[in-house]
């Protein structure tokens, strides 16, 4: 492992350069981690909304069961319904209690009488939702129709914007870290020009000379990735309780440790790639 030893010595002997290289890598991987969290989280939220009944119709208090049943039949006959579920007042109260179990004040205020019964309907095709919600609006027993297509569409638009921004930022930061690392390793190669010349004269092969520099780049990448990941994962775990209450019942968090480890693994691969690319650039540019 003499390459690693030599590389490690080179790092210790120029701490500022090493610091710069590691920090830019940390920044890159911190960004990658955060955007991964955002993307995974938002796509989980979208999935959640898409799998939920997309149209909810609340009934008036005076609505009779027979009217509700006939409306159900009417809806089923359109053949556009994938599923339809009746939620009674009692069930609604149960759901409400479950959602607000941590807030006794809210629990006390609400009884089954206050909450309306409802239909939760999902359609076969997303395009059918408009027609179904029209039908529901026309019905005399329906007081209100909530139509979640808008929520999903808005979220999808946001997610796609975040994704584009994230990818652009990650590409930019990756390029910046490649160039900074290539410059730092280039400086080191120039500083060691005489040593390299001596090595060549006593019979060192090109690869014997290049390996420590390549290893050095990879070490910077790996250290940066690990620090970036630790910080990002730490922030995520620390803010999980807050985010969970903010997301109310949407099952995004807590993130599984396995997923976090998989992220670390992928980041390490990418770090090795970035480190190697930068060192390659430097080595072939400065050591001819």
């Amino acid at each position: 492992m003499s390459f690693t030893k030599t590389a490690w010595k080179n790092i210790r002997r120029s701490p500022y350069q090493a610091m710069a290289a590691i920090l830019i890598m940390t920044l890159t991987f911190l960004t990658i981690s955060f955007f991964t969290f955002l993307l995974v989280g938002s796509s989980k939220i979208i999935n959640y909304f898409e799998s939920k009944p997309q149209v909810t119709a609340f009934f008036k208090n005076e609505a009779k069961q027979t009217d509700i049943n006939s409306l159900e039949n009417q809806l089923k006959q359109t053949n556009k319904i994938a599923s339809i579920r009746f939620v009674s007042k009692d069930e609604a109260l149960k759901i409400y209690r479950e959602q607000n179990k941590n807030d006794p004040l809210l629990l006390d205020l609400v009884t089954a009488e206050v909450l309306p019964s409802s239909f939760e309907i999902s359609t076969v095709e997303i395009e059918d939702m408009a027609a179904i919600s029209d039908m529901l609006n026309k019905s005399e027993v329906v007081s209100d129709v909530i139509y979640q297509k808008d929520v999903v569409a808005t979220l999808a638009a946001w997610t796609s914007a975040i994704r584009k921004m994230g990818i652009a930022l990650i590409i930019l930061l990756s390029l910046v870290s490649i160039f900074i690392m290539a410059t730092i390793i280039g400086i080191k190669i120039s500083q060691k020009k005489e040593d390299i010349e001596i090595m060549r004269l006593i019979g060192a092969t090109n690869w014997y000379i290049r390996w420590p520099f390549l290893t050095e780049g990879v070490i910077y990448g790996v250290i940066g990735a690990v620090i970036g990941w630790i910080v990002a994962a730490g922030v995520l775990l620390y803010s999980t309780p807050f985010l969970e209450s903010f997301l109310k019942g949407i099952p995004v968090l807590p993130a599984s440790y396995l997923d976090l480890l998989i992220l670390l693994g992928l980041e390490l691969l990418f770090a090795i790639f970035l480190g190697a690319i930068s060192s390659f650039l430097a080595v072939f540019r400065y050591s001819k």
Partner: protein, 258 residues
């Protein structure tokens, strides 16, 4: 073993460093390469390890056709030709031990075996007590021996010594010459470049005189040694003022010694 065939080397400035040099050195020989500074001694050494290519001619070292040697074979050639560089080319940030270890590391020797070899070489050149010091902590003669040790550590068949006595007083110079002779006796072919006439005079070895890139005379070993040819070189040397200065320096060192 070593053969230069009508070798010329012209540098970018247009001046000939070497012109039409033909030279044979047999296995196990000890040859002095003599000439003033700039005569082309170092150029010959640099050609032999393929630091650059000759403008014309062919060079053979052992079984290698140096001029047509594929690039990936150059390290192999260099591992088989030990060089004591004029400026030593030691690593100042490494200990004596690490400096001598370097060729072994480069050659990929196992560290236990390498340590044994280095310790043996340190004993051979008499530097055991300086093993873990740095080059600047040693005297001129001692760093010279470090350079010799590094050149020897891979047991090369050929040893090229470029002015190994250049900066040393006479007594130390003789120690170095004796060390190189001992190495030669063990079978290593040695070529030593020098401008120090005193060193050569009493050695009784083969001497090749080079001036301005040409071989101007050659003395075979002990039997044919003649002082006439040496004085011829001295005449040439007299033409160059800077050479006189170098000679003076040598003399003054001798004076101090006495």
């Amino acid at each position: 073993m070593i053969k230069l065939d009508k070798v010329s080397k012209k540098f970018g400035t247009g001046t000939f460093a070497l012109s039409d040099i033909s030279l044979n050195v047999d296995k196990g020989e000890f040859v002095f390469l003599v000439g003033s500074t700039g005569a082309g001694k170092t150029t010959i050494f640099r050609l032999l390890i393929r630091e650059f290519l000759p403008t014309e001619g062919n060079i053979f070292v052992n079984e290698w056709d140096v001029v047509n040697l594929p690039k990936n074979k150059i390290p192999t050639l260099r591992k088989n030709v030990g060089v004591i560089f004029q400026d030593l080319k030691l690593f100042l940030d490494r200990t004596i031990f690490e400096n001598i270890m370097l060729p072994l590391e480069v050659a990929g020797a196992g560290s236990e075996e390498a340590t044994k070899i280095v310790d043996a070489i340190l004993a051979q050149v008499g530097l055991v007590e300086h093993r873990d010091k740095f080059p600047i902590q040693l005297s001129g003669g001692e760093v010279q021996r470090v350079a010799i040790a590094r050149a020897l550590v891979l047991s090369p068949q050929i040893l090229l010594a470029d002015e190994p006595t250049g900066n040393l007083d006479m007594a130390t110079s003789w120690e170095i010459i004796k060390l190189l002779s001992d190495i030669n006796k063990k079978g290593t072919t040695v070529i030593m470049a020098t401008h120090n006439q005193d060193v050569i005079k009493s050695s009784g070895k083969r001497v090749i005189h080079i001036e301005k890139g040409k071989i101007i005379s050659e003395e075979k070993g002990k039997k044919n040694s003649s002082s006439h040819k040496t004085s011829h070189v001295a005449e040439v040397v007299d033409e160059k003022p800077e050479e006189k200065m170098e000679e003076k320096e040598d003399n003054s060192k001798e004076d101090k010694k006495q």
